[in-house]
Symmetry: C2
Subunit: 443 residues, 2 copies
């Protein structure tokens, strides 16, 4: 199964005859405003190609590397769980909405060890169904239709879907190789302020580690600048939060660890940091977590109680044991080596096969290479390049999906995201070769 | 841990110093309208008593029986999963938003076997994080603030929290021992129509099997009457859905199976039926599922994609194997016997210890006994009876939490829900004895 970003693969599956338009006509379905703001992910149709076209290689897929999934560690952890029969029963029972106490304690201890200013209270850690659910809940807790959220230009397009569903106005902030450009952030804040809209500005969403799609790791200097700027523009009445998405935190291949942006939030009042067990361990456990200001814990958990009473308890016992036994950290080391190899493979073929006009970043971690073609060469669906890639049977994520849609602010059309996470080296290299051929054909 | 309805136990955990009020004053948190409509569950404080008062016995707890959780079947299923290493890797990977294909197929086949008019397409089955998440998603897809949802009087109070969070106007429909009273349903529909509000009426929520809190099983006659009435009042413009919550479907102790209300919806256009692996197998897998009209599948899955990309994949592989191997059905038989014994134990002590003035229903399935005290004897917090129960150290769910709050429509105050699911027979019987003493003291 050569498939797609999780949400897209799923959505594409339902893109058959069961659409709301057709059935709506028959049954008179009156969807909520939120549902009407929640279309199929824009690239669902694209992902369908990965299933339907024989021999298609997807460099668009957002799944993780299959071979290195922790089959043996998970089996061992379950066997150990079964040495304590009371513990097994607790794992099969309902749990607490905020998550297993022991897991939250282990997470809090780990965050402190990773430089988070302590004490980190387990009460301010929430376990969720992937970090995705945490992003959803925080957005649900803070954002009303018409509220403003600042995001990186480009940013994680799935989260833009969440913001769109909430009715948010999404304003992009320009980035460079170090992350968000401070002057661009100032400029946007001034625009919001000049428009008398500061009361609608709720937060800044920023991926601080090996950003999706660019692969950029925010420098320490930039983290400090961003934090200072947001703090300065924030007032007690119009308090601005920062949602730090650290999904790729574990996947560093080289260079020094940079502290969480949240480390600057020493009073734990401004930054929510989202992390996940999906990228560093196994998505199949469907667990993520967040560390957040006390003022948000109860609203987020009250919502989560309505969603699901808490995430899978059996998964949480496995995750807890993975952290406590050291197997999580051991597995992260394996994944770092594995993804580094795959990144190197992709970069090697890019160097060999891409014409000089194609620029690309060399990420120090994460799962993505961001490619920029010359101005005027569009990567968007229907473009000459897109058709060439289809003819070569290789898929990518068109870059313009990763930019906020704003009237009068044209999106760059000449970029694309390539992912080396899911497929094995041989098809990976072949896919990049095809991509090189497509670029040459389009230039 | 003698604890509570899942969502309440969890919420009570966060009722410490981290409330939004205190922190909000410090940090200026501007919550969304939805978050402001989503308070702590009303009885969180009550559940806290179960933890804080030594020797407290909770007949309020909504957890399932601990001893009979399927520890051995789950271990066997995981061992079998591990005989196929590719399958293990798939279980640890991301899945599809709508759920594992094989699981959806097994569910569809099972529903057909249980009398659902076929063919049941797996495309119209969605796997969710407990049936709770399905209830949430359906509500999110259909209900805008100010929309109307009809519920049973009394109904599942957690779902009223979901409706309140969505901003719904909740209208209660009177019930008797057979379920919703047709004349009461007609009357409410006429009221809505007379008020010119049919365009806001979105659905009827009904628990068809061993209802929470009353334990009532809707008779076949009533199912037909309810369906006919809703169909008659529904128009293509103002289409009225029925959300059939069948969470306790598996837990029948005696009597004949009654077909799903959805069986009447032969064109699969009006009824969404929600079922769960929590009550018949293990809540720790955190899985439920729904069978729904095509028009709702895509809106619900687009929302779910934003929530979490799909529920835990490892859990879904276990659930699929449980269904396919027959272990699910075997376990349901064990649970039926177990809960029947516990129901019998509760009823036996009730007969021995409760004064004649206390009326109660004898449920043929499910987890609850609904007790009605004489008119004028309040069970609400602060009442004489409540204080007597506290003095006896026994907890229950005050009945008025289970009624929709409507201006000018006083709720019954003289009822309570007793749950025999979680605690073992000895404390269960002791708890009921204490309850008898409290009733005698209050009369």
């Amino acid at each position: 199964m050569n498939t797609a970003e999780p949400t897209r693969a799923a959505a594409s599956e339902t893109s058959g005859s069961s659409g709301p338009s057709s059935a709506g006509a028959a049954g008179g379905v009156r969807l909520s405003a939120r549902a009407l703001r929640t279309p199929q992910p824009p690239i669902a149709w694209l992902m369908q190609q990965a299933f339907e076209v024989p021999g298609m290689i997807s460099l668009a897929a957002g799944f993780v590397d299959q071979k290195s999934l922790p089959a043996t560690p998970v089996r061992d952890l379950i066997e150990e769980l079964y040495t304590d029969s009371d513990q097994v029963l607790r794992a099969l029972q309902y749990g607490l909405t905020g998550g297993l106490r022991g897991l939250r304690e282990a997470i809090a201890a780990r965050l402190e060890k990773r430089g988070m200013p302590g004490p980190v209270s387990p009460d301010h850690v929430a376990v969720t169904s992937g970090s995705q659910q945490l992003l959803y809940l925080i957005t649900e807790a803070l954002v009303d239709p018409g509220d403003i959220v600042l995001v990186e230009d480009p940013t994680y397009f799935v989260y833009m879907g969440v913001l769109g569903s909430a009715g948010a106005r999404i304003l992009g902030v320009a980035t460079d190789d170090e992350g968000i450009i401070p002057e661009a952030l100032e400029k946007r804040l001034r625009e919001v302020s000049d428009a008398g809209q500061m009361h609608r500005l709720k937060m800044l969403y920023v991926m601080t580690y090996f950003q999706n799609p660019k692969g950029t790791n925010h420098s320490q200097r930039r983290r400090e600048q961003i934090y200072e700027i947001i703090e300065r523009w924030s007032t007690p009445e119009n308090f601005i939060y920062i949602l730090e998405d650290a999904a790729y935190y574990e996947l560093r291949f080289e260079g020094e660890d940079v502290p969480f942006l949240k480390s600057l939030d020493t009073r734990n009042e401004r930054v929510m940091t989202a992390l996940t067990f999906s990228k560093g361990f196994a998505p199949g456990l469907r667990l993520g977590y967040g560390y957040m200001p006390p003022a948000l814990v109860e609203p987020v958990l009250n919502l989560k109680g309505n969603h699901d009473f808490g995430s899978g308890n059996l998964s949480q016992y496995i995750a807890h044991a993975a952290l406590a036994s050291g197997r999580f950290d051991q597995h992260v080391e394996i994944l770092r080596a594995r993804y580094k190899d795959k990144r190197d493979a992709m970069l090697r073929v890019i160097r060999e096969e891409f014409p000089a006009e194609a620029q690309y970043a060399e990420p120090a971690g994460g799962l993505y290479v961001w490619v920029t073609l010359p101005e005027g060469v569009s990567t968007s669906p229907g473009s000459r390049f897109f058709q060439a890639a289809m003819a070569e049977r290789v898929l990518y994520v068109p870059g313009h999906y990763c930019y906020a849609q704003e009237p009068g602010r044209p999106k760059p059309e000449n970029q694309m995201r390539l992912c080396y996470a899911y497929i094995d080296e041989a098809p990976l290299e072949e896919g990049v070769r095809r991509m090189g051929a497509a670029i040459k054909a389009a230039l």
